[in-house]
Amino acid sequence: MKVYKQLVRTFTNSGEMEMPKSGKQKLFYAIMGIIAVCFIMVPCCLLVGYLSYGITLALGDGCADGTLFIIHFIALFSIVFGMNVILNVFYFAGDIPYILPLPISPCKVVAAKFTTAYLSESVMQILILISALVGYYFATGIRWFLLPFALIGTLTLPVAPLAYCGIMCVLVMSFTKLIRKKSHARKLSIVIFLFLLIAALYFVSLLRDIDMMQFTEQLKAGKSSFFYAMNIVFPTNYFFGQMLTRQSLMAFLWYVLVNAGFIGVFLLLAQKLYYRGVIGLGAEGGDKKPRTVAVNMVKAVKVNKPWVAYWKKELKVLFRTPAFFLNCIAVNGLWPVLAYAIYVMQSDSAIFQWFYVSYRIGNEMAQWVVTLLVLGVTVLLTAANSIASSSITREGKQYGFMKYIPLPYETQFHIKAMVSILISAVFVEIYVVILCIALKVSMPAALFYIVVSLLEVVFISYLGLYLDTVNPKLVWDDELNALRGNYNIFFNMAYAMLIAVIFALVLAALYFFTKMPLWILDIIIIVLLLIANKWMIAVCLKKGIKNLEEL
C-alpha cells in the first residue's frame, strides 16, 4: 500500500502544470480561474442540474431515469476519451523506462497509474454528476441515511468506464509482440479512438426512438433501447439509478460489488498482461527502407523560405504526433456526434419544426438564433481543439528553438496562429455549410455565416496563442501530458465563451432596443469582429512576444 501511495503521489506531481507563484501572472491566472469557473463549470453544472430536476419531476414517483440518462451519456463519452488517456498513461508515458526496472508488481504500477488518471480526468465529470444528483434531490428528495452513499456513488461513477478502458487496453496491448513498434501502437490508438467514436454514434442513434415531447412516457414505459443497451454496458450506472429510484441500500451494495468486480478483473488482467504488453512494445522502431532511399532523398532536397519551413514543421508535428493528432485534430470530429445526438433527439420535435418553418419564412428571431448558433459553434470548436492554446506548450523543453533561430517572433507567432486558423476553419466551415444546406439558407446569408465564422476563428486562435504565452506547460515527458491538465486550454475556452456571451448580449441589446434591420446588424457584427481581431493580433504580438522573451 505504501508503494502504491508513493507511486500515485509521484505520477500526480509529475503530470501537474507548474503555476505562477507570484506577480502579475499569478493574478492573471486567478482571474482566468474565476472566469473558467463562472463560464464553464457553473453553466454546465446548472444546466445538468436543471435537466435532471426537470425530467425527475416529470417522471414522478422518484424515478431516477432522468439522472441515469445523464450518467449514461457521460459514461459513454468518458470511454471515448478515457481510452486514449489510459493507453497513453499505461503504455507510452515517459516514466515507463524508469518504472520497469523497479521491483514493483505490475498490479501496483497499474493501480497507481489508474488512480492518477481517475483523479486527473474525473474532476469535471464528478462536478456534473453531483449537479445531476442535486437536481434529483431537489425534485424528489433522498432519504437521509442514503445521502452519504449517494455521494460516494457519485464520486465513484467514473471508475467503471475507466476500468473498461483499462481492461480493453491491457487486452489489446498484450498482443504488442505482433505490433512490435511503438509507432504502430500509437497509430493503433487513433484507430481505437475512431472505433469508439463510431460506437458512441451508434448508441446515440438508439435515442432516435425517443420523442422528446413524450420523453417521460417513453421512459416510464421502459421502451428506450438506448437505456436498455446502456444498462447492460454500464451495470454500475443501472444499480446507482436503482438505489435512487427505490431508495435502496441493497442496490448500493450491488453497485459497490459490481464496481469491485470491474476493478478486480482489471487488476487481475493487468497483473498477468501489463508487463508483457509494455515490454513487447520495445523501442519506437525504425524504417526498413533501403539505403538508396536516404541517398535519393538527400539528392531531392527542396529549398523553402524560412517561414514555409517553419509552417511545415508545425503541421508535421501536429499530424504525426498521435496525442496531438487525436486531441487537436481528430477531436474536431466529435462535434458531428453531438450535433447528430441533438438532431436525432430534436428533429421531430414541435419546437424544431417551428424553428425550421420560421427560418424558411424569414422570421428575424429565427435568423438571429442561427447567427448566434454559428458564433457559438465556432467559439466552442476553435477553443476546444486546443491547437492555438497549446502552441507554445507543444514546443516543450525545446522551446529554446523558437528563441535561438533567426526567424522573427512575429513570423513564428503568425505561423502558429495560422495553423490553428487553417485546421479549425476547415472543420468549422464543414458545419456551417451543413447547417446552411439543412436550413436551405440563401447564398448571401451563407456567405455571411462563413465570413463571420472565419473572423471568429482568427480571434480565438490569436487569443489562445496569447494565453499560452503567459505560462506554457513546457515540462512534460510525453505528448499527451502536454495537453492533459493544461489550464491554458481550459482558460481559452472560458475566455472565448465569456467574450462570445458579451458579444451576443451587445448584439441582442442593439437588436431589441433599436429594432434595426438584420442586414445592418450583420454589417455591425463583421465590423466589430474585424476591430476585435485587429486588437487581439496586436495584443498577441506585443504582450505575447514579451511573455516569450521572459520565459
Binding site: G285, V298, V301, Y310, K316, R320, K397, E549
Partner: protein, 242 residues
C-alpha cells in the same frame, strides 16, 4: 568572436545564476567552459544565443549585440543545446532541411553539406527515419549536424560530446579544431577535463555563477604548482576563487 562582458542573470529575483561574468572567445580560438552542475554554464550559453535575456551586461556575437540585433547575431551562431530530444516526429533529413531553410542555405550547398556531415557522423543511412526511432547518441549527432549545417562562424556547444560514440566525438573535435584554424570561434561546455586539456586554447571556469579562472591550461597548472588538472578542478570547487 564572442564578447561576454559583465553579464548577470537572476531567476525569480532570488537565485543569481550568473554574477558579473566577463570573458572573450577570440577568432581562431577554442574555449572550454568548465564548471560543476548548476554553475551557470547553460544559463550563460542561453544568454549568448538569445534564449534568455541578460539582466545586466552586454553580449557581442561577431559584430552584433545579441540583445540589440538578435536576428543578425543569431544568423552567426551554431548552437547545440543540452537536450537532443527535439523534433522527434521529423525525419533526420527533414530536421536538417528545416535548419538549412531557416538559415537560408542554397540548394547547391546544402545537399553536399548534409551528405558530407551525415557520412562523417555515420547517420547517412538513417536520414529518412523519424528521429523518435534514433538512439540518444544518434539524436545528439543530428543536433550537431543541425547546428553546423549553415556553417556558422561562432559555435556555441553545450556539452556536445554527451552521448557521442568515440568515433563521432573524434570527428567533432577535429571539426572544432579545423573551424578554429579557419579563424572562427568555438565555445563549448564540458565536464570532461581530458577533452578540455587536449582541445582548448583557453578555459573559463565558473562556480555558483561567478568566474573563477580564465586563461590557458598552462597558466592554470602553474598556479597550482603542477598538480593534475583533476586535482586543481576539485580544489577550485572546494575553495573560494583564486
Amino acid at each position: 568572436m564572442i564578447s561576454f562582458q559583465h553579464v548577470s542573470k537572476t531567476f525569480d529575483g532570488k537565485v543569481k545564476a550568473v554574477d558579473d561574468v566577463s570573458f572573450t572567445v577570440n577568432p581562431g580560438e577554442i574555449v572550454g567552459f568548465i564548471g560543476p552542475n548548476g554553475s551557470g554554464k547553460t544559463t550563460s550559453m542561453k544568454m549568448m544565443t538569445g534564449i534568455l535575456n541578460p539582466d545586466e551586461g552586454s553580449i557581442q556575437i561577431g559584430k552584433y549585440d545579441i540583445v540589440k540585433e538578435p536576428l543578425k547575431a543569431k544568423q552567426e551562431i551554431g548552437y547545440i543545446s543540452d537536450n537532443p530530444d527535439q523534433f522527434l516526429r521529423l525525419t533526420g533529413l527533414e530536421y536538417l532541411n528545416l535548419m538549412a531553410d531557416i538559415y537560408g542555405i542554397a540548394k547547391e550547398e546544402r545537399g553536399g553539406r548534409i551528405e558530407r556531415f551525415a557520412k562523417e557522423f555515420g547517420v547517412y543511412d538513417v536520414l529518412h527515419r523519424q528521429m523518435a526511432g534514433y538512439s540518444h547518441g544518434m539524436r545528439q549527432k543530428m543536433m550537431v549536424l543541425g547546428a553546423l549545417v549553415h556553417e556558422p562562424e561562432v559555435w556555441i556547444l553545450d556539452e556536445p560530446m554527451t552521448g557521442l560514440d568515440p568515433e563521432s566525438a573524434f570527428v567533432l573535435k577535429q571539426m572544432m579544431r579545423e573551424h578554429a584554424d579557419k579563424g572562427y570561434s568555438v565555445l563549448f561546455s564540458t565536464h570532461v577535463l581530458e577533452v578540455a586539456e587536449k582541445l582548448c586554447d583557453r578555459v573559463v571556469i565558473i562556480r555558483y555563477g561567478k568566474k573563477l579562472f580564465e586563461g590557458t591550461l598552462e597558466e592554470l597548472v602553474s598556479r597550482y604548482h603542477n598538480q593534475s588538472l583533476e586535482e586543481i578542478f576539485l580544489e577550485m570547487m572546494n575553495h573560494e576563487g583564486i
